[in-house]
Symmetry: C2
């Protein structure tokens, strides 16, 4: 099965620590790489965990708080210095182009590739990307400034053709793709072989919901219902529930409640306040509500099988 | 003797590696902390090496290439989140205020302390800071955009009063500062004790020259003559001498030539191109010209004794 997996590059909230970086994740879907947020030092984390920077063609920025985008100007510069010439797509709320342009104006930087900014606006979900394999939708968050999560959904995968049947019926290569899509095979003698004899059903389409900074917010539960993997911010433990409200963030327990109400298969929590040296306090509080929870740990990859 | 020492936080040129960060240094002069450049991830390096972020009141940015300032917005935000209320001084070529303001506008950030931008302009050296202990002058570099190095000079230190003499002549506390400045002591009986009997000469005033990105440039040799410690960029080895000229940088050997011509006591080289995994090639080439050279290594502190 082609990969559908996310690697955490940064797990900290606004103030990084000596060991935890601001938010960033790399999503690998079928060997296509998508960057989710780009906090300071993301390019260094990408190198540390041996990702190929130039394979990223789409960067999704949830919102314009510094801990979610301040690594972007440096990453863009490095892509340029390493010889990039293919277009890069950046999705974010309004303002990011002006920020990047201001940096480039003063550093007299002229990138050798095109930046294509896709501006995210409005209070309802929108499909912002689609190719032959996946779709990406925004998930409107409730934060202090405009903020969006992102829902990645694999399209219905093709059926798996049975190798022996290709030999048995001498199926020409150019018809295999159609059979994988569900067509029957008509032999040269005119005999119809039903698709069900030639193929096995595909694995179910996989999905990942990335819910970055938000006040506790049930409005997107329908949208993320039954996803395979949910990342949800969990900045504070329950003793700081008031601080969570003030800053438009969630507690670990609230992240668990969203996962439970949305009936997701697995939950990753992250965006930890720097005050928590031992993250088990957060994990344990989430698990009281939703058992199948794991901590976002930098360098770890979470696979959807 | 009060400290006069520099700690390297970042040693890489524009493209960082998995282990080398963009340029930044902390200078500790008499327990006052000055930040020199602020490449991406400087705030994380400050934490890693256990510096107290809020003790930095003056930040000197050599120029507006991203690898020298992209850590600044994040550091300013962290100072704010950690409760800073005292003014911060930032020295840089024109444009940095606009960059910071654009970031803050879109993130709706309102710092709880004042930023005082000091704009560096012109082609000759200027004194940009002075207090009771030190002076700081710009050192004009020759780079692709306006760029300045910085020369930190300790003022003539006070003489060292001899402890036993205080007791012997029963010298009142309130007169000690004047004696350290070179005054004689007049006893209650009217007897003049010459300063030379009461004090020992101070250590010579110390100095540090920070010469960041520049084409090979002899124009500042007179200014940095005889400094105790020189940092000079050494981006390339000699086999990339042409590339150094194209990009307005120096080779390791050229850094050594500047140190030798300026008769400095010790040289630190840094700002290494990512292509050099083993830095000894750079160090050896510099040492052929100037023996007392060391590599800038992240986390290491270089003391002027």
């Amino acid at each position: 099965m082609l990969p559908f997996e996310v690697t955490v590059l940064g797990s900290s909230s606004a103030t990084p620590t000596a060991t935890r970086h601001p938010t960033a994740q790399v999503l690998n879907i079928h060997e296509r790489f998508f960057l989710l947020d780009c906090g300071e030092a993301t390019q260094i984390q990408l190198r540390r965990f041996k990702f190929k920077i130039q394979r990223i063609d789409h960067i999704f920025i949830s919102h314009l708080h510094g801990d979610h985008y301040l690594g972007l100007p440096g990453l863009l510069g490095t892509m340029h210095l390493l010889g990039r010439d293919k277009e890069l797509h950046i999705y974010s709320p309004p303002g990011l182009k002006e920020i990047i342009d201001t940096n480039h104006y003063h550093s007299k930087t002229f990138l050798n590739y095109d930046l294509n900014f896709h501006v995210l606006e409005g209070k309802s979900s929108a499909r912002i990307f689609e190719d032959d394999k996946i779709t990406v939708e925004t998930i409107p968050m409730n934060h202090r400034i405009p903020c969006y999560g992102f829902l990645f959904k694999e399209k219905e995968p093709l059926r798996n053709i049975i190798g022996e049947k290709i030999a048995e019926y001498n199926i020409p290569v150019q018809q295999i793709q159609e059979i994988k899509k569900g067509e029957d095979f008509i032999s040269p003698e005119g005999k119809r072989i039903p698709n069900s004899e030639l193929t096995l059903p595909p694995h179910p389409a996989r999905s990942y919901a990335y819910c970055s900074d938000t006040l506790y917010n049930e409005s997107f539960i329908e949208q993320i219902k039954n996803v395979n993997l949910l990342y949800h911010e969990a900045t504070f433990a329950e003793d700081k529930a008031e601080r969570a409200i003030e800053t438009h963030h969630c507690t670990a327990k609230q992240a668990g409640a969203i996962a439970q109400k949305a009936n997701v298969k697995k939950l990753i929590i992250g965006h930890y306040s720097a005050r928590y040296k031992d993250l088990d306090v957060l994990l344990n509080e989430t698990k009281q509500v939703f058992e199948n929870t794991v901590l976002a740990i930098e360098g770890e990859t979470y696979k959807v099988e």
